[in-house]
Symmetry: C2
Subunit: 142 residues, 2 copies
Amino acid sequence: METQSTPPHRLAALARLRDAKLRPTKQRLALAKLLFEPGDHHVTAEILFEQAQAAGVKVSLATVYNTLHQFTTAGLLREVVVNSACTYFDTNITGHHHFFFEDSGELIDIDGANVDIRGLPKAPDGARISRVDVIIRLSGQE
Amino acid sequence: METQSTPPHRLAALARLRDAKLRPTKQRLALAKLLFEPGDHHVTAEILFEQAQAAGVKVSLATVYNTLHQFTTAGLLREVVVNSACTYFDTNITGHHHFFFEDSGELIDIDGANVDIRGLPKAPDGARISRVDVIIRLSGQE
DNA sequence: CAACAGTTTAGAATGGTTTTAATTTGTGAA
DNA sequence: TTCACAAATTAAAACCATTCTAAACTGTTG
Ligand SMILES: [Mn+2]
Ligand SMILES: [Mn+2]
Ligand SMILES: [Zn+2]
Ligand SMILES: [Zn+2]
């Protein structure tokens, strides 16, 4: 009987959690898988909760919120603020910007590497820039 | 006895309401005065409500919310989305951007005329850009 | 003035998010 | 493996900015 090797995606999720010093619980592992396997995307707590249920993962909404915040604090996720109705979390943690479809709530990434912002005043004295967000708001109307 | 002339600030508030086709009620007039006399600034519903109370204006929080939304719809105010905890309204309706102090919640305007953003992809087909928001987030730490 | 639509309001409801406090689970030592 | 303990999960309640409801009030117009 061969040694059962851990599948690579599980390894990746485990490694992420280990690096973030978060215990690899069933729930965190399952949520990490849902978040990081599909590639860059944006979720709300509610959406991730539904995806977990659809995938048969037994997890509470409170844990989804806890996990999203812990991952954000650990730098595995980023929060995107586009409206006050609900919080989006972004699995793309590189410097980038967003199109925001105001009608549907959909977000699309804009690579930050090509974007150049000129003419900004320097930050007020004693302040440190933690991030520059550019949000292009789109109305449905043609 | 001379004719009592309407003071200019009251005239201005009246004119704004007339142009916006909103009835000049006591509450709207008082809120317009608090909003538009001091020059460009940013308020939340709660802040404006407190300012009204401090000024002895009898108005309910519900009316403050109603009025802020009506003024926004009429183009007299702009909403600024910087965090999901509460909604800011901006009396500066020209194209401009913001410094946002994440610690204090304070907003400072950045004149849009000097800012030039290059390298943005064009809007997806069928979409119309309703606004481009630039938010520079500042942490307290030096 | 009267009549009526528009406005205000207190209080209830909403809904995304956080908190509570009890239970369960992961970990490291023995 | 077992134990003990800290960490994590959870159902349920609480929170709180905002919106809704429906009854009272007010501005306008004739
Ligand atoms: Mn948060
Ligand atoms: Mn609104
Ligand atoms: Zn993104
Ligand atoms: Zn502003």
